[in-house]
């Protein structure tokens, strides 16, 4: 891929990743975050996290489907880190606006409310991934160990979706779409593995 095109695509991706945040900031400044701005901020940051995680998980299956898409790998770190950024904003929204920085309330919530437990677990799973996202870390860990550590992203994504299901009222089906998409992307890997093995066998 030509360098200028790569720079353009990277810039566009950055802008797309920053869009949800800028929309929230604009909304806050113009007092346009809706009737329940706390819920709006929480939902927007949570959705951004899940979407970015899902998009980042689409990269490997796409690369395996076509060798011409191998450049997509250059975007995975950016998407993953942005997902972690929004996950952190989402958690900060809970700590500041829902719990009012009340440590007692927060520890009770984490212990008693399973969707909050799951949310914290998902964030904790993303934390080492964000911390080891640098090239230096990849070199220090070595490719093999780094890859094994970063398989935690699958678990983090699943925890994130469960967190969403446990948050909505029983009977509400809004998380269904992202669940299906994520399910397909997670299944894609073993399916592609199986397809590859069959191709090797038939040779």
């Amino acid at each position: 891929m030509k360098r200028p095109i790569l720079i353009l695509l990277k810039t566009l991706t950055w802008l797309a990743c920053l869009y949800p945040l800028s929309a929230l900031v604009y909304g806050a400044v113009t007092n346009n975050l809706g009737a329940d701005p706390t819920a709006t901020i929480s939902f927007a940051t949570g959705l951004a996290t899940l979407r970015l995680l899902t998009i980042s998980l689409a990269i490997t299956p796409l690369r395996r489907l076509s060798s011409r898409l191998s450049w997509l790998i250059k975007f995975r770190r950016l998407l993953g880190l942005c997902a972690f950024f929004y996950a952190s904003l989402h958690m900060l929204t809970y700590i500041a606006l829902y719990a009012g920085f009340d440590i007692d309330a927060i520890t009770t919530d984490i212990a008693k409310r399973r969707f909050i437990t799951m949310g914290v677990v998902a964030w904790l799973l993303l934390l080492p991934l964000a911390a080891t996202s640098t090239t230096w870390a990849i070199r220090k860990l070595g490719g093999k160990r780094w890859n094994r550590l970063h398989k935690l992203v699958y678990l983090a994504a699943v925890c994130g979706v469960i967190h969403y299901w446990w948050q909505v009222k029983p009977g509400v089906l809004t998380p269904l779409t992202i669940t299906v998409i994520l399910g397909v992307l997670l299944l894609a890997r073993p399916v592609l593995d199986w397809m590859q093995r069959r191709r090797v066998q038939s040779v």
């Binding site: 809706g34 009737a35 329940d36 606006l97 829902y98 009770t108 919530d109 409310r113 909050i116 009222k169």
Partner: protein, 326 residues
């Protein structure tokens, strides 16, 4: 052939032909323009505007009197927020959907059936209900189980006045409320896995409490569809889902009736659902709430026992374990 005197219209009153043609053409043009307008806006939206049922009611002012039962000392939630931030799952599960989708709710003709343990089953027309008692302006706090709250100026009167007309038998210990349900009108009802029609219920003493309101309007006007038109119940000391909307029937029963959210998840939504900061919802604490319409940093406030109506209603629950009967 028409037998009888021709009408006495002086010939000076006869419209000159060319004027008549101009008017006919103008009418044709307007009809054409309206047709194009309808096509552009969406024919059903335009039909709403010309539908006599909706046109007669939209924004109609109600004649109201002051009420000693009104809540003071609270800032009212804006009309915009009250009418565009709604839980009315039959019209979609997002908060902005009912305002968009509830236009087709047919609020006339409307009747409320009285069934069950009553002297005789009756059906009341909505117009009769509107005239039963003077309509009072009552400001009430409204606390959703989702931990957000509003302050709403409702219009109506105490449900007890209506219940007296229903003549329930002494054996009636509970009253069940059934809401309107029509799959064709409420096309979004399948977005959630809830069984319709919406059902709610109160113990007889709760239903007879003066604070429990049979509600016909808000902000001095007829209820917008998304707020539960044309008649709903408001029980301000309980979580909002107890305040059933668009009521079509009251059923007086001996045993605690099934209620929609309790059916969905008995663990999360109790029959009583009294607002109580000390009894947590399984999925979140009920200690605080977010006041709608405030800036994001100013929303959070402490939840009050019985939503601040403890003085008036706590005695209903003397001796009851509020944690067990939540």
């Amino acid at each position: 052939m028409l037998i009888g005197k021709p009408p006495d219209i002086p010939s000076s009153e006869i419209t000159p032909r060319e004027l008549y043609e101009r008017y006919i053409n103008r009418r044709r043009f307007l009809r054409g323009a309206a047709a194009i307008g309808a096509a552009v806006l969406g024919a059903d939206r335009l039909a709403e505007v010309f539908d006599p049922r909706v046109r007669a009611l939209a924004g109609t002012k109600l004649q109201t009197v002051k009420s000693p039962l009104t809540t003071t000392g609270e800032e009212l939630t804006s009309y915009k927020d009250v009418t565009t931030y709604n839980n009315f799952y039959e019209f979609g599960v997002d908060k902005d959907q009912p305002a968009k989708n509830a236009g087709g709710l047919p609020t006339r003709p409307w009747t409320v059936r009285i069934e069950g343990l009553v002297k005789k089953p009756q059906t009341f027309d909505i117009e009769a209900l509107l005239r039963l008692r003077p309509l009072e302006d009552r400001v009430y706090r409204h606390r959703c189980v989702e931990a957000w709250s509003m302050v709403i100026p409702w219009v109506g009167y105490s449900l007890s006045e209506f219940i007296r007309q229903c003549e329930p038998l002494p054996s009636a210990k509970y009253v069940q409320f059934l809401s309107y349900f029509d799959k064709k009108v409420e096309k979004w009802q399948s977005e959630s896995s809830i069984f319709w029609p919406y059902s709610e219920g109160l113990r007889m003493d709760e239903a007879m409490h003066p604070l429990t309101m049979l509600t016909f309007g808000l902000y001095g006007e007829v209820l917008p569809n998304q707020n539960g038109a044309p008649v709903r119940v408001v029980v301000p000391w309980k979580y909002g889902f107890k305040s059933a909307k668009s009521i079509v029937a009251l059923r007086f029963v001996e045993k605690q009736p099934p209620t929609t959210w309790n059916d969905q998840s008995a663990r999360e939504y109790g029959f009583y659902s009294n607002v109580n900061p000390n009894v947590d919802h399984p999925r979140w604490s009920q200690r605080t709430e977010r006041r709608i319409g405030q800036a994001f940093y100013a929303q959070r406030r402490t939840t009050l026992l019985f939503n601040g109506y403890a003085d008036q209603v706590a005695s209903l629950y003397n001796g009851m374990d509020l944690r067990k009967y939540f």
